[in-house]
Amino acid sequence: MSSALPWFILLLPFLAAVLIVLLTKSYRGLSSFISVAAVLGSFACSCLVFTTENIRSIELTWIDLRPVLYVPLGFVLDDLSKTMLVLVTGIGALIHIYSLGYMKDDAGKSRYFASLSFFMFSMLGIVLSNNFVMMFIFWELVGVSSYLLIGHWFEREAAAEAAKKAFLTNRLGDFGFMLGILMAWTATGSVVFQDMAAELGRITSYPEYLTVAALLIFCGAVGKSAQFPLHVWLPDAMEGPTPISALIHAATMVAAGVYMLVRVGFLIQASATALSVIAWIGTVTAVMAALIATQQNDIKRILAYSTLSQLGYMVMAVGLASGEAAMFHLFTHAFFKALLFLGAGSIIVMLHHEQNIWKMGGLAGRLGITFLTFMVGTLALIGFPPFSGFFSKDLILALAYEKNPAIFWLALFTAFLTAFYMVRLIVVVFFGKPRSDHARAGREAPWVMIVPLMILAIPAFASGFGFVAKLFLRLPGQDEHGWLVPGLALAATLAGITLAVLLYRRRESDPIDFALVRERFYFDEIYGFLINATQGVLARLSAFLDRWILDLGLIRGASGATWGFGSLLRLLQVGNLQAYSFLFGLGIVGLIYFTLFR
């Protein structure tokens, strides 16, 4: 059955964005309601699509240059994309509603909601695309809308810089992604995922080519999912409004990289080298980000690094050739991380935009519901049974235990660190004595912000149970490892909790001071130096070329030569009639001489 329903899902947010920008920009209240209505409509359509078996979408032809290139405007509607649709529109809807409260008095509210709707459109485009060309376009659009949203408060220099950094870092990865797409297209002769999978046999005989193509495509995911070494943009992206951090930089956009890897899993799994590179990059990211998170003082940055670390887990799972495990963790993570960010958002807003955890403290009593939901999110994140994160993380750990022990121990260490930094956050923010006036005066957020928290707390708790997750995902067959892996994971988590509670109970400032970690392994400084050393030198060189060779040599040279010849020739133009006739006569004599006597 062909249906136009998926088109509604995709185009409703787009229409909202267009409507807001063109018509209702000056009516801030109306704009926000248009945007919320669009995402709710999208969510309703997604649910309909999700519950319909064997649904097929209307497909249009965009570029038809067969047999060289055929690009349809078509949607893929399998279990994977249906789950992502519900996830993205569902969490998106909650965050739209939450934003009504968070952005209530913001002067740029219309612009904010227009960008948010535009983001929903681009993200849904990535989820629905059935070919690489469409996906790449939406991929870039997601980058653009992320740029707009991070830079929402562009009058703050840090936000403007962060937006630029996010966009450029993403572009770096996207360049590799584009090359990878071109390589895969050259080899298989198609950009449609289904046909590529069918034609894959053509390139399996060239394993090196396949490895390079897979790794280049992975580059795109490295940029968008903020994996090492392109992870530097995500923590800075926290300069944007907090709902944005929840939606884009925790639940959906950064998951796009993992989703894409799972979508083209057939290509990546054909190359063992690519798989192991991917697994190790995921592992490095997970451990590194968790280490950094233990020494950060900004509540959103801690959450940002924990996002990095969890994305590392997902990429690790992709690298261990289990897209299902990656998607399971993506699914649970989207709920509990969105919950954590929204919780952090309501703390921040109630404390008048104070983000330093050492200026908080003792909030458990006054921000009761926020505290409870935040606890649910935390327990899910650190993988405490029976919260959702336990199941999905356990699946990845079991996978690693089976395939690569080194990765398993590092992943276990990350689980320990995760528990440590999250409990540190909880202890410092919610317990002890308030350490600032704002913290003493903090009160619960308005209901539009609290209700999404309560709704999100439910899946954050329950989405890990097998019977719930099976509704949405195909779970891999559980290999029985007995209680070894979950037992070790639980032990690591408990160790982390105990250590954090012992270290941070009743502290006024951080007892540990580890500069290397606190300064995020100096990545920003190293990149800054590298960029100065390479791009700075190149810029100076090209400035020199432009100024002295092009400008002086070619442009001024050409005009100067013309001018010089002109003034030379001007000497002949005396204006005297008889001088002209004399020269004319001389010319004739010369002509006759040359024609007759030479």
């Binding site: 005396v574 204006g575 005297n576 009639l577 008889q578 006739s581 004399f582 006569g585």
Partner: protein, 106 residues
């Protein structure tokens, strides 16, 4: 016996006199007359060529003479235009001397 050479020498002298007049005289009207002299030098040589190029029946080649008629016609038209320009110039500048007219625009 007067040969073609004699005619051409006379024609060349006429042309040289005309050209020298164009180069050396200052008065535009005299220059104009010298120009006519040069045209007539050409006419003379054309007629001479016509007279000395005889076909088998003893008839001269009339092409040269037809040319001369054309030149006389064109010269008459040119004189009309040229004199009109000179009159206009005199009205504007009160001069017929070439040194006084050395700019394109005034």
């Amino acid at each position: 016996m007067i040969t073609l050479g004699h005619y051409l020498i006379v024609s060349g002298l006429l042309f040289t006199i005309g050209f020298a007049g164009v180069l050396l005289r200052r008065n535009i009207i005299i220059i104009f007359m010298s120009l006519e002299l040069m045209l007539n030098a050409a006419n003379l040589s054309l007629v001479a060529f016509s007279r000395f190029r005889v076909d088998s029946a003893g008839m001269p080649d009339y092409n040269g003479q037809v040319f001369v008629f054309f030149i006389i016609t064109v010269a008459a038209a040119e004189v009309a235009v040229g004199l009109a320009i000179i009159v206009a110039l005199y009205r504007a500048r009160q001069t017929t001397h070439v040194e006084d007219v050395s700019t394109l625009k005034f």
